[in-house]
Structures are given as C-alpha cells and as structure tokens.
Amino acid sequence: MRIAVARTSEALAGAGPRRRRMSLTTQRTLEGYFFVSPWVIGFLVFLAWPLFQSLFLSFNELQATSLTDLKWKGIDNYKEAFVIDARFLPRLWETLRNNLLDVPVIMIFSLFSAILANQKIKGVIGFRAVFFLPLVIGSAQVIKQLFAQGVGGATLSQGVNIQELVFEYIGPDAAAGVSDLLNRLLFVLWKTGVQMLIFLAGLNSVSPVLYEAARVDGATDWDRFWKVTLPLLSPVILVNLVYTIVDSFTDTFNSVLEYIQMTAFAGGFRLGYAAALGWIYFIVVFAILFVVVRITNRYVFYAGDRSG
C-alpha cells in the first residue's frame, strides 16, 4: 500500500516537471498553431502555391492541350495584353466604369433600405424577410435568365412609362440610355443583400443613448442621421465598401473575367496568357482597393477604444 502511494506520488512528481518544462506561453503558442494549421495548409496548397504558379505561368506559353509543354516568353504576354490584344483593354475599362457606377449605388441603396428596415414599426420583420431575398436567390444565373427574358426596366416602369416619356420628349438615344440604366439599376439592386445585412447589424450596434442625447439637444431626424448615425457607422461603411468592391470585381459576369475564362478554357486554351490577364486584373483591383481604403480611412470615426 505504502509502496503504491509512493509510486503514485513519484509518478506525479515525475510528470509534473515534464509538463511544466513547456511553459504556458509555449503551450499557448502550440495550441494557436494547432487551431490555425488547417487554414495555413489550405492557404499554401490552394492559394499561395497557385498564385505563385500563376505568376510563373504568366511569363510562359502553355497550351491546355499539352500541359507539360512550357515555353518561356518573358513579358510577351503582358505586352500582348496592352499592345496587341484589342479586346482586353476595352473590357477592362468597361468593368472599371461599370463598377465605379455600381458600387456607390449599391452602398447608398443598401444603407437606405437598412435604415428603413431598422424602423421600429409594425410588420418590419416581414419587409426585412423580403429585402433579404436577393441573398437567397440572387444567383447570378437565375437573375441573368430573368433579365434576358426582359424583366428589367420594361416590367418595372410599366405603370410610369418612363422610357416612352423620354422617347417622346428627348429622343430615341436618350430612351435607350434610360432603359439601359433602369435595367442596370434593377440588376444592381439585386446585389445588395449582404451589404444590407452588415448595415443592419451596424445600425443595431449604435447605442440608443446617443440618439436620445442628440434629441434632447434639439437635433432633428436629419441632423441625427448626419451627426450621429453616419459617423458611428463609418467603420461599417468602410467594411461594406471593401466587401462591395471585392464582390463586384470578382463577379463572374464582368467582361474581364468572362474574357479570362474564354482565353483559358472556352476556345482559346491559352493558359499562360490567361494567367497574365488574371495577374493584371488582380493588380488593378488591388490598387483600386488600396486607394479607396487609404482615402476612406481618413473619414472613418472610431468611437471609444478599439485597440483590441
């Protein structure tokens, strides 16, 4: 009996220091790496390595028909994209222009509808449910089918007949422009689901005490929006802006991405050139994001302590 106890305590004493040899910090560090390791492995395999390979491929000639046949081309692919290829730059420009128009529309519309859906009035939950429909069926494909079938401005403005009015008073060119705009607008409104969700969450996190205070100080609803809601929401606006830009630039419907896919898989099979186009696009998007974040960050107001 005594021996057993002694052995146990000996075992405990032996186990103790060994466990203690690894300090708590080291243990925490190992745990941290344990938790993030799946992501790191995934990052290396599914992102970092392909990204590097894509950069390498972009300096080569590679046909999809024979994947082992690499030919070094230097910067010829990039030269081709900017100097020879007559289809790439117009598409890039078109994508930039469209997104420049779409992103503000998406932001303003989603903020507007989030504020509406945040009103404390009866039945607002039902409206929220409808507003989130684009999240569920905003599938690019379904929507594309719909607009191909003409559920665009034509259906929506039937009661008002904006196009006809414009046609009569301004002319056919303007009418075509208006109908284009209406179609585009409807298409864009269908991309506001996530943004509205984020704005709603942001609006919910604004403390009602501040509104109360503003009201007691005599601020009108209009003042409260500009002086309380907007500054407190500005970090959320930045998050949303980044999300919207990334989302619309990686939307498979934009013509650059369609072109890249065409070059690589449908018809062209020029993998090296497609990789070069992909990298040019990536750098352009990254530059835009960098500029936007740098400019917007100046206007973002961080309330309280946000060091964590």
């Binding site: 745990e31 993030v36 009035i121 449910a129 989130f132 919910n204 630039f249």
Partner: protein
C-alpha cells in the same frame, strides 16, 4: 446652452416612466404621416424584389398564345402546368438536384467546421505571428478566383479531381473555398464577443484546447454557425463559375448549370423547332424549379437571417 443640456442628459435618461417628454408628445403628431411614408417606401423596395418572382410564376404558367398576347402580363388565361414536367425532365431534375445538394451541403459542412476551428484560434489564442496570419486571411479574400484558376485547374487535373466534387468540398475543409476567408472573419468576430470566464473555468477543470473549443465554445457560437452554414449553402448553390471549370460532363452538372444549358438542349431535343415564345414559359418554369429549394430553406430559416444578425457579432 447645448453643453448644459448635454451634461444633464444622463439624468434625463433615468427619468421615471410616467414622465412624458414634451418633445415626444410633439413628435407623436407627425408620426402618422411619417409612418405612412415609411410604409410606402418599404413597399416600393419590396416590390423591386418581389416582381421578378411573380413574373417567374406568372410566365411559367402561360401558353404560347398568352406569351404573344400583349394584354396578358401578370395573369395567364389558364394554368398551363405542362411547362413544369417538361422543365423537370429536360433538366434531369432529380440527378442535378442531388448534385447541387452534394456540393452545397458538403462544402457548407466543411466551411462551417473548419472556419469555426480556425476562427477560434485567431480570436482567442495569442501566439506569435497571429496578426500577420490574419492579414493573410484578409488578403485571400481579395484574390479574384480567376487569377489562380489556371494553376488550380492543373493541380486538380493532376490529382484526377476533374468531374468530381473534390475541388469544391476538399478546400472547404481547410477553411478555403468560396468566400472561406469571410467565414473565418465572421467566426473570429463572434468568438471575440464571448465572455472569457466559461472558457477559463473549463481550462482550469482540465479540458484540452480542443475540448474547450468543441464542448464550450461551439455550442455558444450557434448563431454564427447557423448564419455561416446557411450562407455557405446558398452561395455554393448559386455558384456558377467554378463548377463550369471543374465539371464538364452533363451528369455532374448542378441545377443552375443545367438551367444555363437548357435552351440549347431544348433546341436539340426538338430538332431546333422549339420557338422562342414557347421557350420563355419553359425557362421560367425551370427557373422556378431551381430557386424552389433555396427559397423553401429560406422560408423556414429566415428568422435566423433576420434576427440573429444582431448576435453574430458581424460588426464589433
């Protein structure tokens, strides 16, 4: 004056219930108009999102005469159900549905589990290099999938994964795949809002890091789990770009892919005789069949979408 009122504001907030602020009384008189206007705008916006759905349903029930008749827009002359079985069979609905379910459920399970795991590591454990790694997570979100599609295609081809669902399901178990970075961020933000006490108690009682995560933190993170799972299902369901790259045989196609090849396949089935007008009703029936599964999931779970946003900590 303003500064005086703002200094007494805290006292006003604590005023008794029976106290009626004269300003509130004054505001009541204009609320009716305001409320009417708010409803009007709400209905307008709802209209934008509901019209296409009504349009799909109305058009799918039309006969070819109805389609060419300009006076019939919303209400067909009768219920012409035949488009539904036609669409059902020409999309090979059962097969494509099970393909879609396989991809979306498999990837959603993978992303939910792995992103919850990784997100917890980023939120709660301090280790060297954590912030740099998290910056990498944000960076992955910025890379357009098209930039890396070529090497990935080659990789999957060498692995023999073309025409299988591995290219969608396997990366999702590593916290990648469609918008994986976003889900990691969501979980990280959520775990950051949870109290430390429970976790510390578990650790003191001798639970391992994994046990703490699985038995204490995951049950607490249910709102985030539900939201991430639903989003992942819906996004994979609607995804279009990657399936078309990695799947090139019809029997592996998902529902939205089938939808996009529907018109050509109809033309070959009828020897190019299918008229445009007949097509439209049929395509709408097909569209409806494609959106029915996510729509019905949404009907049952919209409570989570609508209400649990506040609790996901999506915004700190």
């Amino acid at each position: 004056m303003a500064s005086v009122t703002s200094t007494i504001t805290p006292f006003l907030i604590a005023r008794p219930k029976w106290y009626r602020d004269p300003q509130i009384v004054r505001r009541r008189s204009i609320t009716f108009l305001q409320r009417a206007f708010t409803y009007l705008v709400l209905i307008d916006i709802a209209f934008v999102f509901l019209v296409p759905i009504f349009y799909i349903m109305a058009t799918s029930l039309k006969t070819s005469q109805d389609l060419s008749d300009p006076t019939i827009v919303w209400i067909p002359s009768g219920f012409f159900w035949i488009n539904y079985p036609l669409a059902f069979f020409s999309m090979a609905y059962v097969k494509s549905l099970s393909n879609s379910l396989y991809i979306s459920l498999g990837s959603a399970v993978g992303q939910t589990v792995s992103c919850a795991f990784v997100g917890y590591g980023f939120a709660r454990i301090r280790f060297p290099g954590r912030d740099a790694l998290f910056a990498l997570v944000l960076f992955t979100f910025l890379v357009p999938p098209q930039t890396i599609i070529v090497p990935l295609f080659i990789l999957y081809k060498n692995l023999g994964w073309i025409n299988t669902y591995n290219p969608f399901v396997v990366p999702s178990f590593f916290g990648h795949g469609l918008k994986g970075a976003l889900f990691v961020v969501v979980f990280r933000q959520f775990f950051k809002t949870l109290p430390w006490e429970l976790e510390e108690a578990a650790r003191i009682d001798g639970a391992s890091a994994f046990g703490t995560w699985w038995r204490i933190m995951v049950p607490l993170a249910m709102p985030a789990v539900v939201v991430v799972f639903l989003f992942s299902v819906v996004w994979h369901w609607n995804d279009f770009f990657e399936p078309f790259i990695y799947l090139n045989r019809m029997e592996y196609f998902t529902l939205p892919m089938r939808l996009s090849v529907l018109s050509p396949s109809l033309d070959t089935a009828t020897g190019g005789q299918a008229s445009e007008l007949f097509n439209e009703a049929l395509v709408m029936a097909a569209v409806f069949l494609v959106i029915v599964p996510p729509l019905s999931i949404y009907l049952f779970t919209q409570r989570f979408f609508v209400e649990s946003i506040d609790r996901t900590g999506l915004v700190e």
